[in-house]
Symmetry: C2
Subunit: 340 residues, 2 copies
């Protein structure tokens, strides 16, 4: 596409990090989607990514329309640098694109004895409680918290009832949705995995108002405002869509997609060794919380990603035939040797 | 109880703020609960509240066992002061007690053109996904975000499917629970409003694993770690209970209850007027998101509290007979004239 070698490597690492973590929907399977965005003129391959407003512990980064994978690395590293200097760092990003999995950025801070926070807004697929209109993206939040002998606590989740990736799996399998994840165009619960294509909307975490969907709506809104409004990016229904064939929303109030990153040095609060000892206790205690079924223990946030990573580093990343085909077509288009 | 006049006034304002906002469960109805904690020797009425570790933008406050309502005000004001000086302020609090409604602290920052964040851990009533053990409190999160001509965006919610207050209302009415809010002591969904008293547990936001309860569990965990582990307070199953008759957990790793507060100056990111213009657009656009039922429009976070406040400032705060009786008993015990 014409990215610098450094940027191409950053982006490649970013996608492979998702595949290694078991989040196949956000890995190399997305590569052709990024290329289509570039073909549509919506990715600047030589961006001038820079901080346009800052204080010692905050800043707004202008991604200059670059690959979100590259812009987000820049911004998270800036948050970490600020935290190293003054205790915490907070960066809101405008004029970016999709950044892959949020967890990889939060983890960058955790590797430096900091708590890492990463979030992004995304194009509108989610209806607020009581509405049938798509107003929010799946707006994920990630928080990484270092421990001592225990592994890093890593939360990384969309603020919806179910992730879009789970829907796609059911669509491919031609199956119905097993729970209240979607509503149809009239606002009625839908179990049709194709429901989004038929004008439906995803539901905020909580599913319905009886089970607290207004809380999921508020969480998604907070992510949208921290990422979009605080930076001067787009927000709500105006966030640019990922599929290049979907037209841009009209009358956009901001620039590109927005992200938000935070880094807090542990020792800005307590000696890191004291904190880590308590985190080890937290994790080991939750690990043995009495399970409902003996064979299904409580999951420590980050365990599933770590297990996938450990297995895939040994055995390789399984790719399905459609993704291989897609990567081969991409290779052909780019004039390089087919991969498979 | 022997608090200073200033502290008593702070605490009284805090409880009345909850009643004015329509959150009756956290208002003066709780006063006798605080008094019972004091009688049990678990409230220090003359606390030496102080910052025991700090950087220009962070700090840990030791509440010295004081009333949470007083400690939390001190800590939030310190976060605001730090934000005024350097852009953001982040305070983790140890050795505190229950602090009432989270939203009142977040609002203190919003009144100063800052984004305000407040959260607290609480005694364990919630089971993590796949567990039947109570490991987390209802661990609320509040975020207040100022706007221009529109009112402040105020999110304030427990990280559970339903708030404890809603359960108490059903208990008093002798009704069943209308949704999946609780599980019984075996981990099966329970519709018994008395379920908590029978060894059950509240469910994290999401209700069950099919609807993302692991996300609610992760959110509650993040609140617990930011409030408890980062400060050196208790966390997880070791957080002190609010009812004075419930014995303290054994082998507590920390001191008292923990809170976490944040303040971010808007103009540390963008000129406040630009931000507020966009927030006005955000709010006005979400207000007209197409409703499912015409008579039930989308709710802007903070609207319900504002409407209650406006009505109650005019018409007064309705108190039920049991609360009046309770306050009268309290007056008698304290040797002051009965109130009603």
């Amino acid at each position: 596409m014409g990215c610098s070698e450094v940027d191409a490597e950053t982006a490649a690492h970013s996608l492979i990090a998702a595949d290694l973590s078991g989040v196949d929907s956000h890995g190399v399977a997305r590569l052709s989607g990024y290329v289509r965005l570039w073909e549509a003129g919506r990715i600047n391959v030589k961006p001038n990514i820079r901080c346009v407003h800052e204080t010692p512990c905050t800043g707004v980064v202008d991604g200059d329309g670059g690959l979100g994978l590259v812009v987000a690395h820049y911004a998270m590293n800036l948050a970490i640098e600020k935290a190293r200097n003054v205790g915490t760092g907070w960066i809101s990003v405008q004029n970016s694109n999709h950044f892959g999995i949020a967890g990889q950025y939060a983890m960058l801070a955790a590797e430096q004895d900091m708590i890492g926070i990463a979030m992004t807004n995304a194009s509108a697929l989610v209806a607020p409680t009581f509405s049938k209109e798509r107003m929010l993206g799946t707006n994920p939040i990630s928080v990484a918290i270092p421990a001592g002998t225990e592994p890093t606590f890593l939360a990384d989740f969309a603020t919806t009832t179910a992730a879009n990736g789970k829907l796609e799996v059911l669509q491919r399998a031609g199956k119905d949705i097993p729970g209240k994840w979607l509503q149809d165009e009239h606002g009625e619960i839908s179990f049709d995995a194709e429901g989004l294509k038929k004008g439906g909307a995803m539901l905020p975490l909580g599913s319905d108002s009886l089970h607290g969907s207004h809380k999921g709506y508020m969480l998604g809104s907070i992510v949208d405002i921290f990422s979009g409004v605080l930076s001067g990016a787009n927000f709500g229904p105006w966030v640019p869509p990922f599929p290049a064939y979907v037209p841009m929303p009209e009358n956009q109030p901001g620039r590109g997609i927005g992200h938000f990153f935070g880094a807090m040095r542990i020792d800005a609060f307590r000696p890191a060794s004291d904190f880590k000892k308590d985190m080890d206790l937290w994790i080991s205690r939750f690990r043995v919380a009495e399970p409902i079924q003996k064979e299904r223990p409580v999951v420590i946030p980050g365990d599933p990603e770590r297990e996938a990573r450990s297995q895939r580093l040994k055995e390789g990343i399984p790719l399905n035939a459609a993704v291989c085909q897609d990567l081969n077509s991409l290779a052909e288009k780019m004039g390089i040797l087919p991969l498979f």
